[in-house]
């Protein structure tokens, strides 16, 4: 008779999803961006990295979509990190509207993902 050993393995999977608009994030494209975010939230994702590094232009409708993403993640107990745009004029608009205080700003996707790992209670 062998001594059967029970090893309980429990895995916690925390999904951190990066979403990176590479063209204009404006009144025309914002609805598609919102749809993508909603799809992620509905599939259970609540930690998002909004990577604006490749976003060359953003209007207030695009900015509204970013705030909406943050709200939805928080409502589900999650959070958002934002990666600074490379385009200087877009950076300045984020400062002018104080979006850089509303969002936790990071310099890269790696930094953004890393900053979640300390903050998440798995």
């Amino acid at each position: 008779m062998t001594n059967q050993m029970n090893i309980a393995i429990h895995e916690n999977i925390v999904r951190i999803v990066t979403i990176a608009p590479e063209g204009r994030l404006d009144a025309f494209s914002a609805p598609k961006f919102r749809e993508k975010v909603l799809g992620l939230i509905e599939s259970g994702v609540k930690y998002l990295v909004l990577d604006l590094s490749q976003t060359p232009f953003m209007d207030s409708a695009g900015m509204a979509a970013l705030v909406s993403a943050l709200k939805q993640c928080r409502q589900h107990g999650g959070d958002v990190r934002m990666v600074w745009p490379q385009a200087e004029p877009v950076k300045r608009i984020l400062s002018l509207t104080k979006f850089d205080r509303v969002f936790a700003m990071k310099n890269s996707v790696e930094e953004a993902v890393g900053s979640f790992l300390g903050a998440i209670k798995a």
């Binding site: 025309f28 232009f57 509204a64 509303v102």
Partner: protein, 176 residues
Amino acid sequence: MNHQASRELSHLLDEVNTNSPSDPTLALTPDGSAAAAITLDIPAEVQYVNILGACACAFLANLKQLAEPEITLYNLELAIQEVSVNIATHAYANSRGRIHMSAILSHQPLKITILLQDTGASFNPAVVPQPHFGELQEHGYGLFLVTQLMDEVEYKQIDGGSVWKLIKNLPVSVNS
């Protein structure tokens, strides 16, 4: 454009440069070098409003003397985008229409004047509150950006529509 509207437009153009003829499609001074004007007319749909800002930026693209051209052109494009998205979504909320833009480039001092005209519903910008900064507010940044990024912003109701006048002074690089 109806008659009253085009009279208003001429009047606004006259303010920009007192030498100007009333036809905004003509250069505004006799020799044509001191000022230049373009006009553009597009469907007031969110799919097409990007044309307005692109066109204004292309107008200035060969002005090599601009200081910080990337920032200046971006801010001009963004202000035009905000006003015209508002026209497409609010002024023409329940209807279809057109947006008519005139852009006048004038010198000494170098500046660009943008007129954006619609035949939709008008409103009172004075009652629009400032955004609550630092809060999770989605809307209300549009007009704030326009006033922050432009040097002068004026809104006028005219018979059968509205005209926005945006003026941006164009700083000149010391190297040029």
